[in-house]
């Protein structure tokens, strides 16, 4: 019927509007900068813990590459390097007598596999005659609010050493060249005592919560000594998730697209005009009919 035509037109226009709006919404920019690629890394430190072995040069090779990645010169007994950050992969650690050419055959070598986020200590241990390279897995994470401690016994003068944290034994009759596993202790300042058959020593060591430590027992000419190392430290409380650090004052925000609104306006005006035209036409016809009847 004739009077339904504008309604149909309305529907058609509304449909077009809906289509347009949908398309605009779909085309909204959602591009986000992708995070930069980041090579995974782990940590490695080197130690010389063989009392009667003279100083050495320590070489670190990435497996399959004959050029050393790191060379630490003149590493003497009792030295523990800081952790080096190294890319994940397989490595060879080689020791040569201090000052020996890098082309000379190494006295000792071992391989170590570095995994992402993990830490390792490669230590020359044992007597000079039986020197070996030990690869130790270092622990970074503690039970919540605790401190972890382990002991490396590197004293040749005292073949067996007992290490106490107050009244708690961290190591009992630990043989020269051995390592304990980590022991969980209450955080605080610990009075660490190391005692062999004849000699003993003690040291006050800070063991804060959420830290891991290695206590190294060393020969100092004539007596024992303790070298306390911090292996890792964490936060007291791990915050959950990210941070709310912005209020949007520097984020440009385009107003919502005016197109659908403009279309609605145009369409509404169109419908109104069409209806008005039709009404006027009809009114004229009534008037015409009315005058005719009179």
């Amino acid at each position: 019927m004739n009077h339904q035509a504008p309604v149909r037109r309305v529907l058609r226009l509304l449909g077009a509007c809906a289509l347009l709006t949908g398309w605009l919404a779909a085309a909204a920019p959602a591009a986000l900068a992708s995070p930069a690629t980041h090579q995974a890394t782990g940590y490695l430190r080197l130690a010389h813990l063989s009392p009667n072995t003279p100083p050495v040069d320590v070489y670190l090779y990435s497996v399959g590459n004959s050029n050393a990645m790191v060379v630490v010169h003149h590493v003497a007994y009792g030295t523990v390097s800081t952790y080096q950050t190294v890319p994940v992969g397989d490595y060879t650690v080689a020791m040569r007598g201090a000052g020996k050419p890098s082309s000379s055959p190494p006295v000792l070598s071992t391989t170590v596999k570095i995994q992402a986020g993990h830490a390792y200590t490669v230590a020359g241990v044992g007597p000079a005659a039986g020197l070996r390279l030990a690869v130790l897995n270092d622990t970074l994470t503690t039970p919540k609010g605790r401190s972890l401690v382990r002991v490396i016994q590197a004293s040749l003068k005292e073949k067996k050493v007992t290490v106490m944290d107050g009244s708690k034994a961290l190591a009992s009759n630990l043989a020269f060249g051995s390592v304990t596993s980590y022991v969980s202790v209450a955080p605080g300042t610990a009075d660490i005592k190391a005692a062999g058959g004849t000699m003993s020593t003690s040291k006050s060591v800070g063991l804060p919560a959420d830290t891991t430590h290695t206590i190294v027992v060393l020969d100092d000419p004539g007596h024992l000594t303790i070298d306390p190392l911090t292996d890792a430290a964490g936060s007291n409380l791990l915050p959950s998730g990210g941070t709310a650090t912005g209020f949007g004052g520097m984020a440009p925000r385009p107003g919502s697209s005016p197109l659908p609104w403009a279309a609605a306006t145009a369409f509404g005006a169109l419908v109104a005009v069409a209806a008005a035209t039709r009404l006027r036409g009809r009114r004229r016809s009534w008037k015409a009919r009315g005058s005719h009847a009179r």
Binding site: P6, V10, L32, P35, A36, R45, T82, T85, A119, D138, L140, G206, P208, T211, T212, P228, L229, T230, D231, A232, A233, S235, N236, L238, P239, S240, G241, G242, T243, T245, G246, F247, G248, G249, M250, R253, G255, S256, P258, W261, A262, A264, T265, F267, G268, L270, V271, A272, V273, A274, A275, A276, R278, L279, R280, R283, W286, R289, G290, A293
Partner: protein
Amino acid sequence: MGLTSRGPRPSGPRLADAGAGTAPARRKHRRPHLSLLALVGRPAVVAAGIGVVLAGSGVAGLLMASHRGYTPPRVGPVKPVLAPAGRPQTPVPQTSAHASAPVSLTIPSIGVRSRLVRLGITKSGALQVPATTTVAGWYTGSPRPGAIGSSVIVGHVDSSTGPGIFYRLHLLHPSNLIYVRQKDGRLAVFRVNSVHQYTKRGFPTVKVYGPAPTPQLRLITCGGTFDVQTGHYLSNIVVYATMAS
């Protein structure tokens, strides 16, 4: 306009009108009365009404759409900030007792110089943020900058009207230097390793806040898309730095 062009309005009730005994010819031409029911029979009037309402809401929408848009203020170039003078903390420590509390932060490459406020944890377990957008803060639960572990420093990328202290954090590049002045006057110097953007949903909590065997620094601010509905950015920018030896 459609409404005004309608025929003459009846002044009284229909019955009275009929009872008045109007001429049959005239009654024949009168259109039905203006009531909701009567409107159903007049599609042109309905269409006109819809048209006017649509046009009106369209105009209102246009006004709102233009009002909701926001253009941030222009920000000048990086203000030159000199690297602070002082004795760097060397060598890299092997125990955690080597750093005193941090007091200020300087990042010359992006013009940042700020004192460091103290931050804790909110009731919901999230990291506190500085109360103002112009200063950075150190999370006191994390290791001190320069001590072993990942020290966490947080700052705002912007306020609701302009840039915050970490507005340019995402522009840092590997090898840029970061200086933290300690209470005893010494400096902990860090070198940027990498800059990452994470969605807050996929935030790698342990990687960012977790334990580390070397002195490291994490600088955190917001980034990515700003969600107008929630008033929050959807992502975080994290700068990873390690102590320069």
